[in-house]
């Protein structure tokens, strides 16, 4: 159902904006921009006719710092890229270095990585849905339910790594330490209880008329445009493109697990939202399989040196399916103690590039919903 007329202005970019146009600056301190992000929006009435994203407010020189510190020292800095998903950031960086240096990872560490990455996906998607509902006007309440569930997963992270968000847990050739006593049982309990929350969330969102009016047919992206713009992750799959790196690359031990990749049909905000709830159910299925067959054994390859780690000369690109999309690290080694080039390919940044195409012709209130449905974290966009 559509409550208001959408697509009043044709989605054509014009350099000269004519008529009664109001130019406003949204952000950088806007509560719905998920951080410090600014958009210069030109409005005809309430309809967006031009939108220019402005970012860089959170720029911390991540890549240059990576080139000036040792290989290991970049690991805690990767936590701060997408600060919701430090475990997957760690994994992407560790995977790139392992590819570059040809390091083997023990079996138990691979399982542990899958478990932690899928838990990260659960908490990221849960909190994203909470924030998205907050953006659509459901102030606070669904967000608090989401954060309540996220807290249980963060407690697990704290028990295993020592920190709730800045985990710094993965190492080249495995994970830093083994699980504490009883951690796997706690994880099983959390995973078994999570579907109850998902059912509750589904009741809240699936048939809610306000959400449907606010989200269906808003911010549509065709499959062609999504592929051209280089979108990845749930934002791409919402447009109906079957591309999941867990299936395509099969990195780690993902080929061993049975799971489905949910696909959208319309590429609008509603599909992007539903993509997250469906992905969480698949994550739970992966987690149940991984927690059932995790073997005993070491978690760190003993051949890898902690100090004075020098990979051979060469370059490597490792990529994983982070909760927000393809997260890749491109590393060039000259055989020294620090990388010659350290480049991050962040999913949020690339997914943000077609924000204008998504927003043209929609109301100014829809901009926040569209931005929320892309799922960005400014730590990763600005680096």
């Amino acid at each position: 159902m559509v409550m208001h007329e959408t697509a009043i202005m044709p989605p054509v970019k014009t350099s000269r904006l004519e008529g009664d146009i109001l130019e406003i600056s949204m952000g950088p301190q806007h509560p719905s921009t998920h951080g410090v992000f600014r958009m210069n929006v030109a409005l005809a009435g309430e309809v967006v006719v031009k939108l220019k994203p402005v970012f860089g407010y959170l720029h911390r020189n991540h890549e240059k710092i990576g080139e000036n510190t040792t290989w290991l020292d970049s690991m805690p800095y990767t936590d701060r890229l997408d600060y919701f998903c430090s475990m997957t950031n760690n994994w992407a960086y560790a995977l790139s270095v392992e590819k570059l240096a040809g390091i083997e990872v023990p079996e138990r560490a691979e399982y542990l990585r899958v478990i932690l990455a899928e838990l990260t996906r659960l908490q990221n998607h849960a909190s994203l849905l909470g924030f998205l509902l907050s953006d659509t006007g459901a102030w606070g309440t669904p967000l608090m339910y989401a954060l309540r569930e996220r807290e249980k997963i963060l407690d697990l992270f704290e028990a295993i790594s020592g920190a709730r968000m800045m985990c710094n847990f993965m190492r080249f050739g495995g994970c830093r330490c083994d699980t504490p006593d009883g951690w796997l049982d706690r994880a099983r309990k959390v995973v078994n209880e999570f579907p109850a929350f998902l059912d509750e969330l589904d009741t809240l969102i699936v048939s809610n008329e306000i959400l449907i009016a606010r989200m269906q047919e808003i911010g549509k992206v065709s499959a062609e445009l999504a592929i051209n713009a280089g979108l990845t992750g749930p934002t791409l799959r919402a447009s109906g493109v079957n591309y999941d790196l867990r299936k395509v690359d099969g990195y780690g031990i993902y080929p061993r697990f049975k799971f489905r990749v949910p696909l959208g049909a319309h590429g609008d905000c509603y599909d992007r939202m539903m993509m997250r709830t469906l992905e969480m159910r698949e994550s739970i299925s992966i987690l149940k399989q991984a927690l059932a067959d995790i073997p005993e054994g070491p978690v760190l390859n003993p051949k890898v040196k902690i100090r004075n780690f020098r990979p051979p000369v060469g370059e490597g690109y490792g990529r994983i399916e982070a909760p927000k999309g393809e997260l890749g690290f491109y590393l060039v080694s000259e055989g020294g103690v620090s990388p010659y080039r350290y480049r991050v390919r962040p999913p949020s940044f690339v997914n943000l590039t077609i924000l204008e195409e998504m927003c043209l012709g929609h109301l100014v209130a829809d901009v926040m919903v569209i931005l929320g449905s892309i799922d960005i974290v400014l730590g990763e966009v600005d680096r």
């Binding site: 020292d73 690991m75 805690p76 407690d155 020592g162 920190a163 800045m166 710094n168 969102i205 048939s207």
Partner: protein, 176 residues
């Protein structure tokens, strides 16, 4: 029927609201500081220096090798080695400062230390009267005993003690 979805959603909210009075799962708030959650064994805040025995000066494990100073990603550790009257270096730090307003609790100093002398603390209530000297910890503030380490991390401390004892026994056997 229009509005049915909203009514279903409101039922969920009502169930959560009323449930929060009866179900422990829905009552997640802890009344800090009167009530406190148990802290995980692995939890880490900021580094401290370990010493054996009762005297912090004699028992300090740190030999001032400066590996942690070099490896620290935000460069928050500052060490000056002790020297005797002739200017010969002694294996002891004269100055050991950690600026915890810079420290990001990454635990890399603990991992690279070959002497098990730097460990992560669990104390998180660190507010000070001002933001410069109150957050710059000197050697005297950082020195904590092995008993304290056993108190905050019983499992890890026992493992470290066993490894150190095994290494000492091996060294003794080699010398004999």
């Amino acid at each position: 029927m229009i509005g049915a979805g909203i009514i279903k959603g409101m039922a969920v909210t009502a169930r959560n609201f009323i449930g929060s009075y009866f179900e422990a799962d829905r009552l997640t708030t802890v009344q800090y500081p009167e009530e406190r959650d148990e802290i995980a064994e692995n939890y880490r805040s900021f580094p401290f220096l370990l010493f054996d025995g009762a005297d912090p000066e004699a028992g300090l494990r740190c030999v001032s090798c400066k590996i942690c100073e070099k490896e620290c990603p935000p460069q928050c550790i500052f060490i000056i080695q002790e020297r005797d009257e002739k200017g010969k270096p002694i294996k002891r730090p004269k100055v050991f400062d950690i600026d915890i307003s810079v420290c990001m609790s990454c635990q890399i100093c603990v991992e690279v230390c070959p002497f098990d002398s730097i460990k992560m603390d669990k104390c998180f209530e660190l507010s000070g009267p001002e933001r410069f000297n109150a957050l710059l910890l000197h050697k005297a503030d950082l020195e904590k005993s092995n008993e304290y380490y056993h108190q905050i991390r019983p499992i890890e401390a026992t493992a470290v003690d066993e490894a150190l004892a095994a290494a000492a026994a091996k060294k003794k056997a080699k010398a004999a």
